[in-house]
C-alpha cells in the first residue's frame, strides 16, 4: 500500500497534534542539494522508518532535527509548536535526541560519563563530580536496555557493539530531561550490531514506542519493515512516498528508493558464473598465531570467497589485519600463490597484491580532508602515474570511470571525501583496491557496513566479478545472511581459533541457525 501524498493524516494516528512535523526543509551544500523540500510527520507513539539510498539526505534531515544542521528553508513543528533548533541542547529540551550514524563517544572517558555527558544533572554539583551518583545514573540507563556493561569502564576498552549500547543508553537520558513524550532518532544503529544485539535493540525500540516516538534508519530493509509502523522513503533530498509496513515487501520499498524496477538475485549467486577451482589454493595460512588468535589454518582458492564468522572477540578481525601485515604475528606461515607472503608491513602486502578494507572507515579507511580522487588512487599510484610523475588527466579519467561504475554520489572527483555520505565513502575505499586491477587477495572487513541496498548489491556484484576474475576474497560479513549469501565456504572462529568449516555451495546454503550452532 503506497501513497505518494502524505498530507492526508493516517487513520490510525488519531492524536490531534503530531509529535514532530517537518515542512519543506531545504539544505544546500556546495555542489549538492542534500535536502530539497522534505516533508515528514511523526505521530505520537509510533516508529517511523526512514529509507533511502546513500546520500538521499537521511542523516542531514535527522541532524536538522537535533539542531546540528541549520536548514536553509522550511519549518519544524514539535507537538504543534513551531521551533527553531540551534543546538543539541535546544533539541533535547524539546525532547528530541539522536544516536548518530558515526559513533560519537569520547573514548577516554568512562561509559558512565559518556552516558550523562552534557546533562549530568545530579551527577555534578557545583562543577564537582559525584561519581557514585554518576554511576547510578548511568546504571539506570544501562538497565533500561538490559546491558551488562560496567559503567566505570573506559569506553575505548569496550567493543564496537558495547559502545553502540552505550550510545543508546545515552540517548535514553532524554526521558529524564523532559516531561513530554520524547522523540528518539536512531541513525543506522544496527549497522554495527550482531543479530542478538539487534534483537535487544528492537525490544528497546518497541518499549520506547509505549511512551515515545522513534525515527529509525537502516539499510536493512527487512529490519525496517520488521520494527517500524510506517516507512518514509527519501530520494534525492525529497520525500517520495510512504509505505505502511503491514503490507509492504522489501522489493517494493527498494523500488521506491531508487525510482526504478528490476529484480535480480541479491547476492548474484549463480553457480554458472563460477569457474572450476584450481587444485592449488591461492592463499594458504598455516598455524597463524597472534595476540588474539591461535593456530589459525585457512586456505582460499583463486575465485573463492571465504567468509569468517564469529561472535565478538573471536579474533577474526585481527587475523585479517595480520594477513595484511597490520598486526604482528607470533607464529605461522602464509603463502600466496606458493610464495611466502611478507607480513612485515602493509606495504609489502600491497605490493604482493593483497587488499584490505577496514571496518572503521572514518579512522582507518579514508583520509577525510583529501579528495575522492586522491583517496581512490592512494594505494595504486601506478594507476595515475607514468614513471614517477602523476598524470592528472590519467587520474581524472580513471577516477571518473569508477565514480560512474560504482554510482558514487559526489559533486566532483575533487570533493573532500569527508563531505560524502557514509555509503559513498565506503565505495571510494573499495574502489581504491580495484583501480589497478592487479589484486590477488582481498580482505574485506564489513565492506557493506552502512551501505544502502543498491550500493550493497553493487558491492556484492563487484565481489563476484572480482572472484570470477580470480581474486581470492576473505569476507568478514556484516550479518550471517550476508556471509551465507556471499561465501563459498565459511570458517567459524571462536576465542581466537578456527573451530569449524561449513561449506556453502550455491544452491545448498546452510541457514543462519546452522552457523550459530557452530559459533557457541
Amino acid at each position: 500500500m503506497t501513497t505518494h501524498l502524505q498530507s492526508q493524516p493516517d487513520a490510525q494516528a488519531s492524536a490531534p497534534v503530531h509529535a514532530l512535523e517537518v515542512r519543506g526543509l531545504v539544505k544546500h551544500y556546495p555542489g549538492v542539494k542534500a535536502l530539497d523540500g522534505v516533508d515528514l510527520v511523526v505521530h505520537q507513539n509510533e516508529v517511523l522508518g526512514l529509507a533511502g539510498e546513500n546520500g538521499a539526505g537521511k542523516s542531514t534531515l535527522l541532524k536538522a532535527l537535533v539542531g546540528l544542521v541549520r536548514p536553509d528553508a522550511g519549518e519544524i513543528w514539535v507537538r504543534g509548536e513551531k521551533v527553531r533548533l540551534r543546538s543539541v541542547v535546544e533539541a533535547a529540551d524539546h525532547g528530541i535526541g539522536m544516536v548518530f550514524q558515526e559513533q560519537s563517544l569520547v573514548p577516554n572517558l568512562t561509559a558512565a560519563e559518556n552516558i550523562v555527558l552534557g546533562s549530568e544533572g545530579a551527577g555534578v554539583r557545583r562543577g564537582l563530580y559525584r561519581w557514585d551518583t554518576m554511576r547510578k545514573l548511568a546504571q539506570e540507563q544501562l538497565d533500561k536496555i538490559g546491558s551488562q556493561i560496567d559503567p566505570l569502564a573506559r569506553t575505548d576498552t569496550l567493543t564496537f557493539a558495547e559502545r553502540q549500547m552505550v550510545e543508546i543508553a545515552k540517548v535514553l537520558r532524554i526521558e529524564e530531561r523532559t516531561s513530554h513524550p520524547p522523540v528518539i532518532i536512531l541513525d543506522e544503529p544496527t549497522s554495527v550490531l550482531e543479530s542478538a544485539e539487534i534483537e535487544t535493540l528492537f525490544t528497546q525500540v518497541r518499549r520506547l514506542r509505549e511512551f515515545a516516538s522513534v525515527i529509525f534508519v537502516s539499510h536493512r530493509l527487512d529490519e525496517v519493515l520488521d520494527v517500524c509502523d510506517r516507512v518514509l522513503v527519501l530520494r534525492g533530498g525529497q520525500s517520495v512516498g510512504e509505505v505502511s509496513t503491514a503490507s509492504a515487501a522489501p522489493a517494493e520499498l527498494h523500488r521506491m528508493m531508487i525510482g526504478s524496477t528490476g529484480s535480480e538475485d541479491h547476492y548474484h549467486d549463480t553457480a554458472a558464473e563460477r569457474s572450476d577451482q584450481p587444485l592449488q589454493p591461492r592463499l594458504v595460512v598455516k598455524g597463524l598465531s597472534g595476540a588474539t588468535f591461535r593456530d589459525v589454518d585457512l586456505d582460499v582458492h583463486a575465485g573463492e570467497i571465504v567468509g569468517i564468522v564469529g561472535v565478538h572477540g573471536s579474533g577474526r578481525e585481527d587475523v585479517c589485519r595480520a594477513l595484511f601485515g597490520a598486526e604482528p604475528i607470533e607464529a605461522g606461515e602464509v603463502t600466496l600463490d606458493g610464495d611466502k607472503l611478507d607480513l612485515s608491513g602493509t606495504r609489502a602486502a600491497c605490493a604482493a597484491g593483497v587488499g584490505y578494507v577496514p571496518a572503521e572507515r572514518k579512522i582507518e579507511g579514508m583520509v577525510g580532508p583529501m579528495s575522492v580522487a586522491d583517496n581512490m588512487t592512494l594505494t595504486k599510484q601506478k594507476s595515475r602515474c607514468s614513471g614517477p610523475l602523476v598524470m592528472p588527466q590519467k587520474q581524472a579519467t580513471l577516477v571518473d570511470k569508477w565514480i560512474e561504475r560504482l554510482s558514487i554520489r559526489t559533486p566532483h572527483r575533487g570533493t573532500a571525501i569527508q563531505r560524502l555520505s557514509g555509503g559513498n565513502q565506503q565505495k571510494v575505499v573499495l574502489a581504491r583496491w580495484l583501480v589497478a586491477g592487479d589484486i590477488r587477495l582481498l580482505l574485506l572487513d564489513h565492506p557493506t557496513r552502512g551501505l544502502d541496498i543498491g550500493a550493497r548489491s553493487e558491492v556484492y556484484r563487484l565481489m563476484r566479478e572480482l572472484a570470477n576474475s580470480g581474486v581470492a576474497t576473505v569476507l568478514l560479513a556484516d550479518s550471517l545472511e550476508e556471509a551465507i549469501g556471499m561465501s563459498d565456504r565459511i570458517i567459524v572462529m571462536s576465542d581466537g581459533r578456527a573451530t569449524a568449516e561449513v561449506g556453502c555451495p550455491s544452491g545448498a546454503k546452510p541457514t543462519p541457525l546452522d552457523l550459530v550452532k557452530e559459533m557457541v
Binding site: 564537582l128 563530580y129 561519581w131 560496567d150 566505570l152 569496550l158 602493509t346
Partner: protein, 337 residues
C-alpha cells in the same frame, strides 16, 4: 591509572571482556624508568643517595612541578602551551612590586601574591580567548601571549631590579617543614589540587574529554569553548604561582624568571606519559615526569658529568626513557606523531 574508575567500584560487576593489551604497562613505564634511573645514580654516586640530596631534589622540583601541573591540563586537551616564560616573568615582576620591596612602598603581602596569580590567570585567559574566538592554534596564541607577558614584565621592570623584603614570601623558600621547604609543600598542594581537579571536577574531566574527542562533546550539546578558556586560565594561574615561587627563591623579581620552563615542563609531562595529542596522561603522570627530569639534572651534576655534555646526556636519557616506555605498547598500526 589516575582515572577514578577503580576508586569506587565496590559492587561486583560482571566479567569484562579481556582488557586491551598494554594498558597497565603503558602507565607503569615512567615510574619504572624513574626507579631505574634513581637506583643507577644511587649506585654510582654516594653524594646522590644522601637524605639531604633527596630533599634537594624535591625542593628543586617544586617550581617545575607547579608549571607542569598547569601545562598538563592544556596538553590533556591536545593543545600546547608555550606561554610559561612570559606569564611567569610577568607574575614574578608583579609580585615583587606588590609585596614589600626596594622599588616602592607597597606591602600587600599575601594579597600581592594573589594579584600576581590573577594577572597570570588573565594572561592565560587571553591565550584561551584567542584560541576559541580567533580560532588560532594554541601553539601560536601562547607564543604570542608569552611575548606579551615578557613585554609587560619588561615595562614593569623599568631598569631597576625589584628585590623583595617581604618576610613571608622569602620565608617560603627558606623555612622548612619536615625537611622540605614550604615551596615544596606548595608544589605538593598544587599536584594534589591538580589531581582533584582532574578527577573530580567537570573542568578536569572535560579537558580530558576534549583531548579524546572534541567533536563528540559538541554533539552532546557541551559548549567546549568556555572549558578551553578555563583550562588556559587555570594553567596561567599555575604559571603565575610558579613565577611567585621563583621570586621567593631568588628574593628578586626577574623578567627571565620563567626562561626555559616551557620546554622543561612539556618534556616532563611527556616523559611522564601525557600524550601531546591529548586525551591521555594526567597530573600524576606529570609529577613522575618532573621527578624524572629533576633526578636526571641532579644526578648528572652529582656524578660529575662535564657541563658541556650534560644537556646531551639528559636528552639522550629522556629519549631512551620514552623509547623504553613505549616498547610495551608498540603496535603495528599505531600512530606516532
Amino acid at each position: 591509572m589516575t582515572s577514578p574508575a577503580g576508586a569506587d567500584t565496590e559492587v561486583v560487576l560482571p566479567p569484562r571482556p579481556q582488557p586491551r593489551r598494554g594498558v597497565s604497562l603503558r602507565d607503569a613505564g615512567p615510574p619504572i624508568a624513574l626507579a631505574v634511573i634513581f637506583l643507577l645514580f644511587a649506585l654510582i654516586s654516594p653524594g646522590f643517595r644522601t637524605i639531604g640530596n633527596v630533599q634537594n631534589i624535591m625542593d628543586a622540583a617544586a617550581v617545575l612541578a607547579v608549571v607542569t601541573c598547569g601545562i598538563t591540563f592544556v596538553l590533556m586537551m591536545g593543545s600546547i602551551d608555550l606561554s610559561a616564560p612570559g606569564v611567569m616573568g610577568a607574575a614574578a615582576i608583579a609580585v615583587s612590586l606588590l609585596v614589600a620591596n626596594n622599588r616602592n612602598g607597597n606591602d600587600w603581602g599575601l594579597l600581592g601574591v594573589l594579584v600576581a596569580v590573577l594577572l597570570a590567570a588573565a594572561l592565560g585567559c587571553l591565550s584561551g580567548l584567542a584560541l576559541v574566538l580567533l580560532k588560532v592554534p594554541s601553539f601560536m596564541t601562547t607564543l604570542g601571549v608569552s611575548a606579551v607577558g615578557l613585554g609587560v614584565a619588561t615595562l614593569l621592570f623599568g631598569g631597576v631590579q625589584p628585590n623583595i623584603s617581604d618576610e613571608m614570601l622569602r620565608g617560603w623558600a627558606i623555612e622548612r617543614f619536615l625537611g622540605l621547604a614550604y615551596l615544596t609543600w606548595i608544589a605538593f598542594g598544587c599536584v594534589l589540587i591538580g589531581w582533584l581537579i582532574q578527577c573530580y571536577s567537570r573542568l578536569g574531566r572535560y579537558a580530558f574529554a576534549i583531548g579524546g574527542a572534541e567533536e563528540v562533546l559538541a554533539l552532546s550539546g557541551v559548549k567546549v569553548a568556555p572549558y578551553k578558556v578555563a583550562v588556559f586560565t587555570l594553567a596561567g594561574a599555575f604559571y603565575g604561582l610558579a613565577g611567585v615561587m621563583v621570586t621567593s627563591q631568588l628574593s628578586a623579581g626577574l623578567v627571565q624568571a620563567g626562561k626555559g620552563y616551557d620546554f622543561a615542563a612539556i618534556t616532563a609531562a611527556v616523559v611522564g606519559g601525557t600524550l601531546l595529542t591529548g586525551g591521555r596522561g594526567g597530573i600524576l603522570h606529570s609529577a613522575v615526569g618532573v621527578l624524572l627530569v629533576t633526578v636526571l639534572t641532579n644526578g648528572l651534576v652529582q656524578v660529575g658529568v662535564s657541563p658541556y655534555w650534560q644537556g646531551g646526556v639528559q636528552g639522550l636519557i629522556v629519549v631512551a626513557a620514552v623509547a623504553a616506555a613505549v616498547i610495551p605498547q608498540r603496535r603495528r598500526n599505531q600512530v606516532t606523531k
